[in-house]
């Protein structure tokens, strides 16, 4: 346990330190503005965000092999043996168990209104929602949102670092990876050192995997069937959706590739 926290703290210090150093180096405002502009420009060029593409592609195929051999059959069996309502109940239950971590991250990001929603959801769903099986909070108009420590780091200004694909964990970035360690530490079950808690953690990890994979059986198959480069498709979808989540759903069209990129083709004949 101590090792876990230490690694986490060290990683955090490293990334935060790096971000800090960047700002200090660019004390000159003009240079800093230029740097921001360059960051934005390189953001468009995904190749720059994926310097470990070779490694990531290997991990991607390892993941797909495991996925096809184990996860998809298990998810299909899970679908065949359960009712839609039961699956929804399990998804709700797991989501409710994650609420404390979401709350901490809402607070760390200074999103107090969202933190209030998260806390209300937890209270409502844990009580009249039978420990989280139901989602009466949703019907009361308190919508669910996700938040994790990777997003908190992003809000704090830690840059995403390279794209990283890990088998079973799926697409992420270095920031997201460090973030998941943070989220693990925010999980109450991780701090209880009994066999029962250990069993709970493992079975919850398994259930989470199944519950997450089951509704994605068709959509992922669809993306695979329709793409020429499945790896690049997933990377693009991940990067685009992550940007939106970090902005907490506030739509921002500023960093789309410029229409100039479309316009210059007027002259290309």
């Amino acid at each position: 346990m101590t090792i876990k926290i230490w690694t986490f703290a060290a990683l955090l210090a490293l990334t935060a330190g790096a971000a800090h150093a960047q700002i200090a180096d660019a004390a000159d405002a003009a240079a800093f503005a230029e740097e921001l502009k360059n960051d934005a420009a390189s953001d468009q060029d995904v190749a720059n965000k994926d310097p470990w593409e070779g490694f990531n592609r290997k991990m991607f195929s390892v993941n797909n092999a495991i996925d096809g051999a184990v996860l998809v059959p298990a998810a299909k069996a899970y679908r065949a043996t359960t009712h839609k309502k039961q699956r929804k109940g399990l998804r709700n239950l797991l989501a409710n168990a994650r609420t404390p971590a979401i709350l901490i991250n809402d607070l760390l990001q200074g999103e107090f209104k969202r933190a209030g929603e998260t806390a209300s959801r937890f209270v409502v769903n844990t009580t009249i929602g039978f420990g989280g099986m139901g989602d009466p909070a949703e019907r009361m108009g308190i919508a669910q949102h996700s938040e994790d420590f990777g997003q908190t780091l992003a809000v704090w200004g830690v840059s995403s670092g390279p794209y990283l694909f890990m088998p079973l964990l799926g697409p992420s970035t270095i920031r997201g990876g460090v973030g998941s360690i943070g989220d693990t530490a925010m999980d109450p079950a991780i701090w209880i050192r009994t066999d029962a808690a250990k069993y709970l953690r493992y079975s919850r990890a398994g259930a989470t995997g199944l519950a997450l994979r089951e509704p994605l059986i068709e959509p992922l198959q669809d993306i695979e069937d329709n793409s020429l480069d499945f790896y690049a498709s997933i990377r693009s979808f991940y990067m685009q959706s992550r940007k939106r989540e970090i902005a907490n759903g506030r739509t921002n069209f500023d960093d789309l590739p410029d229409i100039g990129d479309f316009e210059e083709f007027d002259e290309l004949e």
Binding site: V46, Q240, L256, P257, I259, F262, F265
Partner: protein, 207 residues
Amino acid sequence: MRITSMVHRLGVAMIAGVMLTTPALADDETEYFIQAVLDEAEPYLNAPDQDTQFDGIRQLVDKYVDMRRVGLFTLGKYARRITPEQKQVYLPLFKEYATGIYQNSLSTYAGEKLKVTGSVDRSQRDIIVNSEIIDAAPGSQLDHMVVHWRVYRSRDGHLTIVDVGADNIWLAIEQLEQFTSIIANNGGPPAGIDALIADLKEQTADE
């Protein structure tokens, strides 16, 4: 002196006023444009069989999506390096591929009603029109889903669709990232573009 300064101020205010109001008018035009496309799409999306849906979407894509522009956009920095011969093969293949993607993505909204909710001008020529699924079945995942349309206004004022996105995830951007990745991983142009063309041929032949 005072009067000239007032006239001057008035002039500035008027210019500012014109600058502020013009984009709003432009918004209206693009919003009407997309709403008209959505109205035209509605009977197709409500068709019970997939063939009618797909045929309808194809007709609308032919009519309103500038596939040549999108096809060149998705080549990214390689758009200037494609040879005329390659371009002649690539553009029709791209059109076929992208039409298939439109058919596949838009038919997800079969039976739903989309309504334009507003727009954002990135520039005079580059407008994003937002639409939302209304009246979806209660509890449906699609309820209130936002679908964005990127509209390009040509120099002569002609409007075309260049990209479509759902909840901020854009199709042409995803295609750009796939295509540039394939070209780069196959040794860059011209060989990389030939590899892309071969992949597109294979993909469109399956359909």
